[in-house]
């Protein structure tokens, strides 16, 4: 059985595919991240895949071409070696003006580097999560055409094929050193299909994509510790940004288990507001202002239909995803059932999202300098909503399906929401807000948290008001400015969390409960721990050591899932996970800042009319 970290991702900022170490694309949802799958072997071996690999035994190694999302897998066989390049081609706007390009394409190029290698291809699409009927037609020079509910798939290759109407399509051949074979799979969704030629054209397409990704990666401004890990995280995050809207999806997969064989299997192909401010800070911090602005715009615009109430997740265009369904015909990854399509958490109440969205907008002001009139109106309405609702119990950041509670993290985020709004008001960005009301509520929340979320017997902040359980999300209190990382309370809280939730190697569980059967260590929580140390909770050496130990849990191509099995180091949960990579980036930024002696998390908003990032003038 393949491990979750046996996969690597390729994509075009609209959709993504997971490619396994043995040359098989086992997961592809086209044309959009949350479309039904065409290849779904990841969740059931009969749900379709596309494998290209040597016929005989082989060993494989893989890497991304430096600073790109172009994947290269090298197969070593007893008779020779092959290099396979996998990508979803991308092109610059100027190239798109003079080259006819398919709407969606996966391009695979296999080159024989030495000796002779027998190669086999098996193309077995199973549209609609394996439920949709389809028919493959060999159209000669125009390729093999497969009509699916998502559109027309066209497979073209210079490898001889055998086709069957409903069964898999196979190809076979022997490559000698210097020879190459090309495979292009396109999807025409609504338009006449564009059929790219093979051979030289395929190689040009690879070169165009490599140049595009390298150009994008060249804008990375980060020069701190573990630069390669940060650069890979940035590239992974970019793949999870849906370019047409600017939304960031949590992960391109569904139902990869948080516990092998268990039922903690969720659909993550949507956008969580929860990730808002952390993602915006990561993008701005790395120098990707365009992506950060795009995401904040999406946060504010996509939520328009429900404002001032916010859902906790939306699809890439800001719509409510289809209701959650259980697909019993899919066996699940390693028998982990059920497989869920859609996410019922959409109807939960999470008060922390208000803090996230307002904090993200504040970050935009800090970097870009101003708010438009419409956004000011939205922020005021969010503030009013927080004042009226912060006392309510909610499901909280981890979305348990066991009911609502008074969650400390949610309450601190409500405090952060009002605190940021008041700062925007003080600096002249947000006139005509009920400042007194916001300030009074902010103080009430602070008092509530300081008295009821602090457990003096445990000497720690706790997950729920008046409770006695720990939660790794408490490490974010300094990040949102609620407590200093160096405060006695935070130091004690960190010590308790490390003792009770530590999983070794810097890893942290998000929580632990006697009635909970367990899961892996939560990727981002470990990075929150490293960042807490970098923000002043520990020494630079502690922070750097913890951070570097955590980076080592990435798979061979630098990718993280949602969780990590502390016993084996293998990935668990949906993959790759934006949240974990955001955690890595933010920890790196805070660490780099600490190394350079900067303010831990700069969040001073410049006065209205002043230059962004200008030093604040003291009155």
């Amino acid at each position: 059985m393949k491990c979750i970290d046996d996969y690597a991702i390729i994509g075009d900022c609209r959709s993504a595919a997971l490619v396994s170490r043995d040359g098989s694309i086992d997961w592809l949802c086209w044309p959009r991240f949350d479309s039904p799958s065409i290849f779904g072997t990841l969740l059931d071996e009969t749900a379709g895949h596309w494998k290209i690999a040597p016929t005989g035994p082989f060993r494989s190694e893989r890497r991304y071409v430096q600073d790109t999302n172009v994947l290269q897998t090298r197969f070593y066989t007893p008779t020779g070696s092959l290099l396979m390049t996998d990508l979803m081609p991308v092109a610059s706007a100027s190239e798109e003006h003079h080259i006819l390009l398919p709407e969606h394409e996966i391009l695979r190029v296999v080159e024989c580097e030495s000796g002779n290698v027998e190669l086999e291809m098996l193309f077995d699409p199973r549209p609609g999560y394996g439920l949709a009927s389809f028919r493959a037609v060999d159209a000669g020079r125009l390729g093999v055409r497969v009509q699916t509910p998502s559109g027309l798939l066209v497979l073209r290759t210079d490898l001889p094929l055998t086709t069957a109407n409903h069964g898999p399509i196979r190809g076979h051949g022997t490559l000698r050193a210097g020879e190459a074979r090309h495979f292009s799979l396109t999807l025409a969704e609504q338009w006449q299909a564009v059929l790219p030629p093979l051979g030289k054209w395929s190689r040009e397409s690879v070169a165009r994509s490599v140049a595009w990704w390298k150009d994008w990666a060249s804008h990375l401004t980060y020069e701190g510790p573990a630069r390669d890990s940060v650069a890979r995280s940035a590239l992974a995050l970019k793949l999870l940004i849906y370019a047409p809207s600017g939304a960031v999806i949590a992960a391109p997969s569904t139902s990869l288990p948080e516990r092998i064989g268990g039922d903690l299997n969720w659909d993550y192909r949507f956008c969580w507001l929860r990730d808002g401010s952390l993602t915006v800070r990561a993008l701005f911090g790395l120098g990707y202002a365009e992506e950060a602005q795009g995401f904040v715009s999406w946060l504010l615009q996509a939520t328009r239909l429900t404002q001032p109430e916010l859902r906790i997740l939306y699809d890439v265009h800001g719509n409510k995803p289809n209701p959650e369904r259980i697909f019993n015909h899919l066996a699940g990854y390693a028998g982990s059932r059920p497989v869920r399509i859609g996410n019922a958490a959409v109807d939960q109440l999470q008060l922390d999202v208000y803090g996230e969205v307002i904090h993200a907008a504040t970050e935009l002001v800090r970097r870009e300098g101003d708010l438009d009139r419409e956004t000011r109106g939205m922020l005021r309405a969010f503030g009013e909503f927080v004042c009226q609702n912060w006392q309510r119990p909610d499901e909280g950041i981890w979305e348990p399906r066991s009911g609502k509670a008074h969650n400390t993290h949610s309450r601190v985020l409500c405090w952060a929401a009002l605190d940021r709004l008041l700062e925007l008001h003080r600096k002249g960005h947000l006139p005509r807000v009920p400042a007194l009301k916001f300030a009074e509520n902010r103080e009430l929340i602070r008092r509530d948290v300081e008295t009821r979320a602090w457990n003096s017997a445990l000497r720690s902040y706790v997950a729920r008001l008046d409770g006695d359980r720990l939660d790794a999300s408490l490490l974010l209190l300094p990040w949102y400015g609620f407590e200093k990382a160096s405060s006695e309370r935070m130091r004690q809280t960190y010590a308790r969390i490390r003792d009770h939730l530590g999983a070794g190697g810097g890893l942290l569980y998000r929580y632990r409960r006697e009635d909970f059967p367990g899961e892996g260590a939560f990727g981002i929580c470990g990075f929150w721990g490293a960042e807490y140390l970098a923000l002043g909770g520990g020494t630079i050496e502690d922070a750097q050591e913890t951070f570097e130990r955590l980076c080592a849990f990435a798979n061979d191509v630098g990718l993280f899932a949602e969780e990590i099995d502390p016993a084996t180091g293998h990935a668990l949960g949906n993959f790759p996970q934006a949240f974990t990579h955001v955690g890595l980036i933010n920890a790196a930024l805070s660490l780099a800042g600490r190394l350079e002696g900067e303010e831990p998390v700069p969040r001073q908003v410049p006065a209205h009319g002043a230059e962004p990032d200008a030093p604040e003038v003291q009155p």
């Binding site: 798109e96 159209a139 020079r141 125009l142 609504q190 299909a193 564009v194 790219p196």
Partner: protein
């Protein structure tokens, strides 16, 4: 000849035809987009092709409408069903002869015998444009029938 009637109802008919075809695309009934097909004769850019193609399609609509109104004038009357009948013939012509001609004259369209190559990459329509989806003929016929019916219903034949 009622020139203003030709201009107005030729325009309205073309807009309705284009809307119906675009709606069919959106509902995944067909992948055929005539403005895109026309525009890619002049440019490879998808966005520019749509804009250029739409302008060309509008002009084409007026030219074809001229044939419709010539028929109405020669018959001395225009009714929705007469227009619809011409539209049906028009649609059949587009699907059969028109679609067979396109790969030969379109510089960026591949065919069963030519390409795909660096220039010819656009999928050819095939018989009855079935390559663009099995419901394409229905969409094309319905759109042209409506085009003709609009012209027939609203164009007024003036006594010469």
């Amino acid at each position: 000849m009622n020139w203003s009637g030709w201009l107005l109802w030729g325009f309205v008919g073309t807009v309705v035809l284009t809307t119906l075809m675009a709606g069919s695309q959106g509902m995944h009934l067909t992948r055929m987009n005539l403005p895109y097909m026309l525009g890619t004769i002049f440019t490879a850019s998808r966005d520019r092709a749509k804009a250029i193609g739409f302008a060309l399609h509008l002009v084409n609509g007026w030219i074809f409408a001229l044939i419709y109104v010539a028929a109405f004038n020669s018959w001395g009357r225009a009714t929705w069903w007469l227009g619809g009948a011409i539209g049906l013939v028009h649609g059949l012509f587009v699907l059969t002869a028109g679609m067979r001609l396109v790969p030969g004259i379109h510089p960026r369209m591949a065919s069963e015998t030519q390409g795909p190559n660096a220039v010819r990459q656009l999928e050819p329509p095939g018989f009855l444009a079935l390559n663009y989806g099995v419901q394409t003929p229905i969409s094309v016929l319905a759109a042209h029938l409506l085009f003709g019916a609009i012209l027939g219903a609203f164009y007024t034949v003036r006594a010469s």
